[in-house]
Amino acid sequence: MRKVKSWKQVLAVQAASMISPVLAVLVSLLVGALIILAIGEDPVNAYYQMFRGAFGDVETFVSVLQRQVPLLLTGLGYAVAFQSGLIQLGGEGQLYIGAFAAALAGYLIPVPAWLHIPLALLIGALAGSLYSGIAGVLRTKYDVSEFLTTLMMTYIASFLTSWLVMYPFRERTATNPGLAAQTMRILDTAKLPRIWPGVDLHIGYLIGIAAAVLVWFFLFRTRTGYTFRMTGFNPYFAEYGGINRTRTIMIAMLLSGALSGLAGSIEVLGVHRRFVDQFSPGYGWDGLAAAILGGSQPLGTFVASFLFSALKTGALGMDRNTMVPFELRNVVQATIMFFVAANIFGSIGFRRSKRSAKAETKGVTKDDSSAVASV
């Protein structure tokens, strides 16, 4: 006696799963407001300025979207790893490696644009992928925790690319006789075109959205995605069912690193047009925050990366127009992470959903299907 769930039921469950992250965000903004009060400023005005800084006009909104791309892509990388039960935290390092490789591909390979862009993106993704693959090998061959290796390799990547761009690959031209630590400018054929003429948003945004859809499809609609998720749910069960653990870990690590490497490549080809030393203001870390707030789900990561990007862009505006410093955004974001990680609102969301469940069960027969969705 199977019954199609009413959309209301499905919605109620989806809403219940969103209560905890939304509460975390709201309460964190409240905490931020208290801090603004404490430093003697007007929180209403500060937040208004923050809002205007992000959504005030087309230009700011476009920069919100622009900034969202690296957060989204690294976030998706983490999501793949987390869904597979891997604690991969090296997105920032993979982003640097990918960015550097894409920059080289961008100015060293003279090919037409239709080939150059995909090629440079691919090379960047591949570089990030190989870099995270090292952690995968260490984990599968020597059982070294990927948590530690990816974390440490982040610093290695950042210092390594710094050295590379300061010595062997430093740009020395007439206009820049080695003053700035950066590589040569990429060829015009490697530049990411704009989506809309006149709007400063490159096609990286579309690539990000496509990646989110593909990651979702991969995780929930393909056989390999199924094996990843089962391994993440219960590795013993996966082993018992014949899922190859080594293969799962390796592919998940490679895929995760590829997404972060792609994030770096898009930054180079779309924004900086060259590799600039220490160009990332912690995209890989904000991406981690997005993946965690988004519950390691592609859609959740998309929404969360938008939120964090807006928060950051808005905070710049707030910094300019009020006495509240930009760092407030760090406090708010860290507070959000604290609430999500400690799952403080998880139990509230749970109770709430149970209460609404009670209302639903009234008059429902016993064979009726439970409305608990898996996603």
Partner: protein, 526 residues
């Protein structure tokens, strides 16, 4: 709606009631797990709680322990209405619960586990000497034979359970809830548990105990409450009822735990184990040079007291544990040291002993759990893509054929009641219809109706030409299902017996390690 309520025999002596649950209602999305349940406890009684899988027993007890909040109804404790927001409240009210899956820290010692969270302190730091002496004293008072300094992971299941009980007693529990405590115990351990329970009851402790085994109800309980479909169908003094009536109230019909098994001429050897040596987690040999064969159309039952190498044997055959020496063949193919995937592909299905460790992913949906291993093949996946329609059909057929409740393939496996989770696993593995079935404790946690059904299914699979290796600590199950019985003792075979001719006493003797060693009967005649 009338709910038959127990009337105290002695003219409603309300004072003797230590606890009453009145009109408890608890719903989960789409399921009414408790439907106006009345339940009460008298001081010093052992109260058995029985009912079908999914009847709502665990839910009711979780409410009493403060893990769930009831939607309606009230709990009256010693005449006062109480609210248990969390286990902290219920523990404070003197209620303790031992879950089926123990919640001990394996690397800690017995005494550390017992006092954990309520440590005696001296000048701010943990007073170990005092903790040890308190635990010693507690063990002595209740006559528990247990070494406070032993580490949990070195203890057999029965002792771990005793540690759980002591943990509750240490916190001053007057009411002790045990959810299917005997499911994981050997008959000997069960006996010891009953001695403990009876002595606790004599000291005035009240005990609620959930079980699917009616002979246990008859043996230890003073009263019994039967649940069915979320409602209480009967509460009676045990002396005034019998196992048949209880079974009828549970299932709503007569249950005959009898298997009809035709004689079959066994065919080819499908599973062959030759001089097998397997080590346990500590690196000691648990299986020592074991050899046997199982043929098409044959059930080989492995009897033995738990912990004599059965678990290691099953894990070695299914590829979950390395083989130190010897050979294993499935359908004529040497699979020694192969991956679980290769072994399954050779034609082996496996009902694992631990349902939540190997058997399923609690956070996955029923359908995700239902397609494990089949996800490698068409029609479940085509060209690497999941085929939603085939998955739906497959999951529904398992739900339908193995009576998994609720009938919802999108429910999370962790939300199924223990018995229904087991049905899902059994359904998945038996639907594979493989040539070899390794079934470990297949009926653990199932209600009698489901056991009856599953026993017949296993025999049916044998009749269709499968070779079944049945590993069970339930001697009755092994005796009634098997064609041949292999008794394991300390990792070795005490001999194989023809099930038709074997006497329970003889098997029991062999299980205790008394009697002849080495193979007999079957191999000689083969």
């Amino acid at each position: 709606m009338s709910h038959p309520r127990y009337q105290p025999c002695l003219g409603g002596n309300e004072l003797a009631k230590v606890l009453e649950m009145q009109g408890i209602v608890k719903g989960f999305p789409g399921v009414l797990a408790n439907d106006h349940v009345d339940f009460d406890l008298e001081e010093g009684e052992i109260h058995a709680l029985v009912g079908e899988n999914g009847a709502g027993k665990s839910t009711l007890m979780n409410i009493l322990y403060g893990l769930y909040q009831p939607d309606e109804g009230r709990i009256v404790c010693k005449g006062r209405q109480v609210r248990f927001e969390s286990p902290l409240d219920s523990i404070a009210a003197g209620i303790g619960m031992v879950h089926q899956h123990f919640m001990l820290v394996p690397s800690f010692t017995v005494y550390e586990n017992i006092v954990l969270g309520a440590e005696p302190r001296r000048r701010g730091s943990f007073d170990r000497a005092k903790a040890i002496s308190r635990v010693r004293e507690l063990a002595k008072r209740h006559d528990f034979r247990i070494d406070p300094l032993a580490r949990i992971h070195n203890l057999p299941v029965g002792s771990q359970q005793r540690v759980e009980i002591m943990k509750s007693l240490y916190r001053g529990a007057g009411i002790l809830i045990l959810d299917e405590p005997t499911a994981v115990l050997t008959p000997q351990e069960t006996k010891e548990l009953f001695v403990i329970l009876k002595s606790l009851a004599r000291q005035g402790k009240t005990i609620v105990f959930i079980t699917h085994k009616l002979e246990e109800v008859m043996e230890v309980s003073d009263r019994v409450t039967v649940m069915r479909g979320g409602k209480v169908t009967m509460t009676k003094a045990t002396a005034q009822t019998d196992a048949r009536e209880i079974a009828r109230m549970m299932v709503g019909r007569e249950v005959f735990l009898q298997v009809n098994k035709a004689d079959l001429t066994p065919g080819e050897v499908m599973l062959e184990v030759e001089n097998l040596w397997v080590a346990d987690d500590r690196g000691l040999f648990a299986v020592k040079g074991l050899s046997f064969q199982v043929r098409e159309g044959e059930i080989l039952g492995v009897a033995g007291v738990a912990g004599n190498g059965q678990m290691e044997l099953a894990e070695a055959i299914t590829g979950l544990r390395p083989v130190q020496a010897g050979r294993i063949r499935v359908c004529g193919q040497d699979i020694t040291g192969n991956s679980p995937f290769a072994i399954r592909s050779a034609g082996l299905a496996h009902i694992p002993e631990d349902r939540y460790k190997h058997g399923l992913a609690k956070t996955g949906t029923v359908e995700e759990n239902a397609i494990m291993f089949l996800h490698n093949f068409s029609p479940i996946t085509n060209n690497g893509l999941l085929n939603r329609k085939a998955i739906t059909e497959h999951a529904d057929s398992i739900i339908e054929n193995f009576d998994v409740r609720p009938r919802d393939r999108k429910a999370l496996a962790g939300q199924l009641s223990g018995g229904n989770a087991q049905k899902l696993i059994v359904g998945r593995e038996m639907t594979l219809n493989d040539k070899v079935l390794v079934a470990c404790q297949p009926t653990r946690g199932l209600d009698i109706g489901a056991i009856e059904f599953l026993h017949n299914r296993i025999v049916q699979q044998r009749d269709h030409g499968s070779a079944v290796l049945l590993i069970s600590v339930e001697l009755d199950e092994v005796m009634s299902l098997s064609d041949w019985i292999l008794v394991m003792y300390e990792g070795k075979s005490m001999g194989e017996l023809d099930a038709r001719a074997a006497a329970v006493e003889e098997v029991g003797r062999l299980m205790a390690g008394i009697g002849k060693r080495g193979s007999s009967g079957k191999e000689a005649s083969a």
